[in-house]
C-alpha cells in the first residue's frame, strides 16, 4: 500500500499548492484592484486612520492639521482656497491636491521609514508641507480685505515666494460637502480662487508693462516731455478720456505715469505697436499659466489679432481685452523690483518627514527665474516712476511712514452698471525691494480710494516679516 499512501500524500500536497496559488492570487495579484473598490469599507477606515501630514506656514506655524476623526482643521480661515478641500464626492483642490502624495505618504517611499510602513501596512504617516505663506502677513491681508470681495497677493520679490494670498469670499474647506450646492448657487461664486484664478481687467496697473516696454525700447524716458491738455483724445473715431485730468497740460513722462494719463499711454501704445507690446507682456508671464503648484489661470492680452489702433491704444492703458489675475500683476511688480528678472511664483517651500528626532527635509523647492523681461536700467527707471506715483500721484494712500513705497493704482471697468474694480500694486522698500503687494477690490470704485489704503497695513506687515 506504500505507493498508494505516497500518491495520496502527493495529491493532498498538490492540492495545498493550489490553495497557496489561490491565496497568492487574492493577496498579491488581485489585491490592488480589490482594495481600491469604492465599496470596500476598509478604504474609509484607512482614510480615517492615516496620519495625514500637516500644512505649515513659512515659520512652521500649523495652518492645517488632522483631527482625530480624520477631518482637517484650518487655523487661518483666509487660506481656505490655498490649502483647498478634500471631499470624497467633489474631489481635492489646492495644496491638499498638489501635495497629496506627500501629505498622505502614498507618493512612493520618500524615506526608509515610509518604505517600511508601506511594506508593513502601517497607517501611512504623511509628510508635513511647509508653505512660503507667512501667517502674520496672511492675517494682515485678510484683515485689510475685510468682507469686501477681491484678493490680496504678497510676493517676496527676492525669491518669488508667495507670502500671502487672500481671496474674498473665502471658502471653509471643512465639511464642504454639506454646503456644496449652496456654494455652487451663490452668485458671488465663492468657489473661484480670485487671487490665482480670477481674471480681471487690470486698468492702469497694466501701465507698468506699457511703460516698461516703452522705456526698454527707448521710445520714452522718464524725462520725455508729453502733453495731455484736455484729458481726452480720439483715435479712429474712438474717444479716450482720462479718469482724472492731469493738473498741467505738459509734463514729463514720469508724471504722465504718476497721474495715470490714458492719453499719454494711448499714444505710447501706438508707438510701441501691437507685436512689441504683446512680446513684452509675454516676457512678464502674461499668456502662460504661472506654475504655482495650485491651480492658476493664464492671463491674456486679448484674442483679437491684429488689434485696431483704438484697441491697441486702450490695451496700452489697461482696458481693451486684457484679463489679468492678481497673482500675475504681482509678478509684474516683482519683476520690476528685481531689476527685470521674472520670478516664478511658488507657494510650497519644502516637504518635511515627521520623525521623532524632528522634521527632516525630503524635498525643498528653490526660487527659479522665468527669464528676463526688461533691462536692469529700465527696471530701475520703473521703480522711480512707481515711487513718484506714491509720493506725487494717485497712490499716496499706500505710503508707509519711514519706508519708500512704489506703486500704481488701477480703476478698471467691471460690468456695465456696476462700480469699477479697484486695483493697487506696490513694491517696498523702493531702493531695495523685498515685497510686492497687489490689492484688488471687486466693484470697489477708484483704485486710489478703495485699493491703495488697504495696501498700507499689508506692506507694513510683510516688511516686518521679511526683515529677518
Amino acid at each position: 500500500m506504500a505507493p498508494q499512501v505516497r500518491a495520496l500524500g502527493t495529491f493532498v500536497l498538490a492540492t495545498f499548492a493550489v490553495l497557496a496559488g489561490f491565496a497568492g492570487y487574492w493577496q498579491a495579484i488581485a489585491a490592488p484592484s480589490l482594495s481600491a473598490t469604492p465599496q470596500n469599507p476598509r478604504l474609509f477606515q484607512d482614510d480615517r486612520r492615516a496620519l495625514r501630514g500637516r500644512i505649515l506656514d513659512w515659520q512652521g506655524n500649523v495652518l492645517v492639521e488632522s483631527r482625530p476623526d480624520g477631518s482637517r482643521r484650518l487655523t487661518v480661515p483666509s487660506l481656505g482656497h490655498v490649502v483647498g478641500y478634500r471631499s470624497a464626492r467633489y474631489g481635492t483642490t489646492g495644496v491638499e491636491l498638489a501635495e497629496d502624495a506627500a501629505l498622505s505618504g502614498t507618493g512612493g517611499p520618500l524615506s526608509m521609514d515610509d518604505l517600511l510602513r508601506q511594506v508593513a501596512q502601517l497607517p501611512g504617516r504623511g509628510a508635513d508641507v511647509r508653505l512660503t505663506i507667512d501667517a502674520g502677513v496672511q492675517s494682515a491681508a485678510a484683515m485689510a480685505l475685510g468682507t469686501a470681495g477681491g484678493a490680496i497677493v504678497v510676493l517676496d520679490t527676492r525669491t518669488g515666494a508667495v507670502l500671502a494670498m487672500a481671496s474674498n469670499p473665502v471658502i471653509d474647506p471643512d465639511g464642504i460637502d454639506a454646503r456644496w450646492s449652496a456654494l455652487l448657487a451663490d452668485p458671488a461664486k465663492p468657489l473661484v480662487h480670485r487671487a490665482a484664478q480670477g481674471l480681471y481687467v487690470p486698468g492702469s496697473t497694466f501701465k507698468l508693462v506699457t511703460a516698461a516696454a516703452g522705456i526698454d525700447l527707448g521710445i520714452v524716458t522718464p524725462a520725455t516731455s508729453v502733453s495731455d491738455p484736455t484729458g481726452e483724445t480720439v483715435i479712429d473715431g474712438f474717444r479716450i478720456t482720462d479718469a482724472e485730468r492731469p493738473p498741467r497740460a505738459t509734463f514729463d513722462f514720469a508724471h504722465g505715469f504718476a497721474w495715470s494719463s490714458n492719453v499719454v499711454f494711448a499714444d505710447l501704445g501706438l508707438k510701441i505697436g501691437e507685436a512689441r507690446l504683446r512680446e513684452y507682456a509675454a516676457r512678464f508671464g502674461i499668456g502662460t499659466a504661472l506654475a504655482l503648484g495650485i491651480d492658476t489661470s493664464s492671463s491674456s492680452v486679448g484674442r483679437t489679432r491684429p488689434m485696431s489702433a483704438s484697441l491697441l491704444a486702450s490695451t496700452a492703458f489697461g482696458q481693451g481685452e486684457l484679463l489679468l489675475s492678481p497673482l500675475q500683476v504681482a509678478v509684474v511688480a516683482a519683476t520690476i523690483a528685481r531689476d527685470g528678472d521674472v520670478p516664478r511664483p511658488w507657494i510650497v517651500a519644502e516637504v518635511l518627514a515627521r520623525t521623532d528626532a524632528g522634521p527632516r527635509t525630503l524635498r525643498r523647492n528653490e526660487p527659479t527665474s522665468l527669464g528676463r523681461a526688461v533691462s536692469a536700467q529700465t527696471a530701475g527707471a520703473m521703480r522711480a516712476l512707481m515711487g513718484l506715483a506714491v509720493e506725487d500721484g494717485f497712490s499716496k494712500a499706500a505710503a508707509v511712514p519711514g519706508v519708500r513705497v512704489g506703486g500704481k493704482t488701477g480703476t478698471a471697468q467691471s460690468v456695465p452698471g456696476q462700480p469699477d474694480h479697484a486695483w493697487f500694486v506696490g513694491i517696498a522698500p523702493l531702493d531695495a525691494p523685498r515685497v510686492a503687494v497687489v490689492v484688488l477690490r471687486e466693484f470697489g470704485g477708484w483704485g486710489s480710494e478703495a485699493a491703495a489704503p488697504l495696501a498700507k497695513p499689508v506692506i507694513q506687515a510683510s516688511l516686518q516679516a521679511t526683515a529677518r
Binding site: M1, A2, P3, Q4, V5, R6, A7, L8, G9, V12, L13, T15, F16, V18, L19, A20, F22, A23, G24, Y25, W26, Q27, A28, A30, A31, P32, L34, S35, T37, Q39, N40, P41, R42, Q45, V119, A120, Q121, L122
Partner: protein, 430 residues
C-alpha cells in the same frame, strides 16, 4: 501496552519549543497592540493552550511513548496560532476554546497512552459503525439548530452542545480502516462477469452504496454539505490506498458527482452557495456579502499583512468559524497564510510518515485515513475561503473556533500517536 519507562523525546521537546514561539509572540503582539499587560486575563487561554501541549509532551515522556515526535509539535504550532486568532477575533470565546482544547488534549493522551491496542478497534469495527449510525440517528431525532440556519446539527448535553458529525468523522476512519484492511483482498479478486460486463465484487459495492447513501442522508436531511463531502472524500482516499485501483475510485466519484448535481437543482441553499461562489458580485450587499467581504479581507492583507489586531477581519461575518484562514491572511499577510499552509503540509507529511512506517495494514490504513481526513478538511475549508470551491461549513482543524471539531481533531492526533507507538514497539521486538 505503554511501558512506563521514561523516554527522552528530545526531538519533540526541541520542536515544541520552536512550535510555541508563534503563540507567545502573537500574544505579545496582541498585548502591545491592545495596550494590555501580558498577564491580562484575556491572554490566559493562550497560556492554557501552551500548558496543555506541554503537559501532553511530559506525559508522553513519562509514559515512555515511542510514537512519532513531529505530529505533536505541528499540532501545537497550529493550535497556538488558533488560540491567538480566536483571542483576537472573539476574545470572550477564547477561554471556552482553550477548555475544549485541554479536553481534546486529554482525550488524545488517553488514546495515545491508554492500556489498549488498536487491534481492539479493528475487531470491534462493526460496533464502531453502529455507534456512528446511532449518533446520526440521535441527531436526526433530537438535534438542535444553533445558528438559526434551520439545520439541526447539534446535540445538547449538560448545558454543553456538541456537533455529532465531528465525532462521526473519527468513527468513520476507525471503521473503514478495519473494514478495508480485512476486505481488500476480496475486493481485488477478478470481477465476475454478467453478460460480458464486469460486476464489481459485493465487498466493494456494499460500502460504496452505504457511504453514498449515508452521505446523502447527511446532505439532504442535515443539509451539511461540507461533512458529506469530507466523509465521502476520506472514504475514497482510504478505498484507493487499500485497493489501489483508480477506476474504482473514479466510478465512486462519478456516482457522488451525480448526487451533488442533483442536490444543486433540488436544494436552494446548495444552489445559493454555488451561485455566490461563481459570481460574488451578483449581490455584494446581500447574499454574497460574506464572500465579497472575505475577498476584500484577503486583498487588504497583501504580502506582509496588517499585523495582528490591526486589520478589519471582523467585517467578514462569522470570520472565527467560517473564514479563519481569511482572517489570518488579512493580519499576517501572504507570508503568514503560506506558512499556515506549510504547517498543515508538515502535519500531513508527518502523518504519512507514520503510515509509511507501519507494517501492519490496519494501522497503515488508520494513519492514512486520519491524514486524508485532516488534509481534505483543510482543503475544503481553505478552498472555500480562497474561492477554489463553494464555502461549506467545515472547520479549520485546530484553528477554527468550535469545541466538537477541536475534540475530534485531537482524537485523531491520539490515533496517529497510538499507531506510530505500536509500530515502533513492534519494530523493536522484531
Amino acid at each position: 501496552m505503554v511501558t512506563w519507562r521514561m523516554r527522552g523525546r528530545w526531538l519533540e521537546a526541541l520542536l515544541l519549543a520552536v512550535a510555541l514561539l508563534p503563540l507567545f509572540l502573537g500574544t505579545a503582539l496582541l498585548a502591545v497592540t491592545w495596550e494590555r499587560a501580558l498577564g491580562d486575563a484575556r491572554f490566559w487561554p493562550a497560556y492554557a493552550v501552551a500548558t496543555a501541549v506541554g503537559v501532553v509532551h511530559l506525559a508522553l515522556v513519562i509514559g515512555g511513548h515511542r510514537g512519532d515526535e513531529v505530529v505533536l509539535p505541528a499540532v501545537a504550532c497550529l493550535a497556538g496560532i488558533g488560540i491567538v486568532l480566536v483571542t483576537r477575533l472573539v476574545p470572550d470565546a477564547a477561554l471556552r476554546q482553550s477548555a475544549w482544547l485541554a479536553l481534546g488534549a486529554i482525550a488524545a493522551l488517553v488514546v495515545a497512552c491508554g492500556p489498549w491496542d488498536t487491534r481492539r478497534l479493528e475487531r470491534f469495527k462493526y460496533a464502531v459503525l453502529v455507534a456512528g449510525i446511532g449518533l446520526v440517528a440521535v441527531t436526526l431525532v433530537a438535534g438542535r439548530d444553533l445558528n438559526g440556519s434551520g439545520d439541526r446539527l447539534w446535540l445538547g448535553l449538560f448545558g454543553y452542545v456538541f456537533q455529532p458529525s465531528e465525532l462521526l468523522k473519527v468513527l468513520l476512519v476507525v471503521f473503514l480502516a478495519g473494514y478495508l484492511s480485512e476486505k481488500r483482498e476480496v475486493i481485488l479478486v477478478a470481477p465476475a462477469r454478467v453478460g460480458g460486463l464486469p460486476v464489481p465484487p459485493l465487498a466493494y459495492l456494499v460500502p460504496v452504496v452505504a457511504m453514498w447513501g449515508g452521505c446523502l442522508v447527511v446532505l439532504v436531511v442535515q443539509r451539511d454539505l461540507g461533512s458529506a463531502l469530507l466523509f465521502y472524500g476520506t472514504f475514497l482516499a482510504m478505498l484507493y490506498v487499500a485497493i489501489g485501483r483508480v477506476h474504482y475510485v473514479l466510478a465512486s466519484l462519478a456516482v457522488f458527482g451525480m448526487a451533488a448535481v442533483a442536490c444543486y437543482f433540488l436544494f436552494a441553499h446548495v444552489r445559493l452557495r454555488v451561485e455566490v461562489w461563481l459570481d460574488p458580485w451578483i449581490d455584494p450587499q446581500g447574499r454574497s456579502y460574506q464572500i465579497v467581504q472575505a475577498m476584500y479581507s484577503m486583498a487588504s492583507g497583501g504580502l506582509a499583512g496588517r499585523g495582528l489586531a490591526n486589520g478589519y477581519p471582523l467585517y467578514v461575518p462569522a470570520a472565527h468559524t467560517d473564514y479563519p484562514f481569511v482572517a489570518f491572511a488579512e493580519e499576517a499577510g501572504l507570508v503568514g497564510s503560506l506558512a499556515l499552509l506549510l504547517m498543515y503540509a508538515i502535519l500531513v507529511v508527518a502523518g504519512l510518515g507514520v503510515a509509511l512506517r507501519a507494517r501492519d495494514p490496519y494501522r497503515q490504513l488508520l494513519a492514512t485515513g486520519v491524514v486524508a481526513l485532516i488534509g481534505f478538511q483543510v482543503v475544503t475549508i481553505i478552498g472555500g475561503n480562497v474561492r477554489l470551491m463553494p464555502l461549506t461549513g467545515v472547520t479549520l482543524p485546530f484553528v477554527s473556533y468550535g469545541g466538537s471539531s477541536m475534540l475530534a481533531s485531537w482524537l485523531m492526533v491520539g490515533l496517529l500517536l497510538r499507531a506510530s507507538h505500536e509500530e515502533a514497539v513492534a519494530a523493536a521486538r522484531a
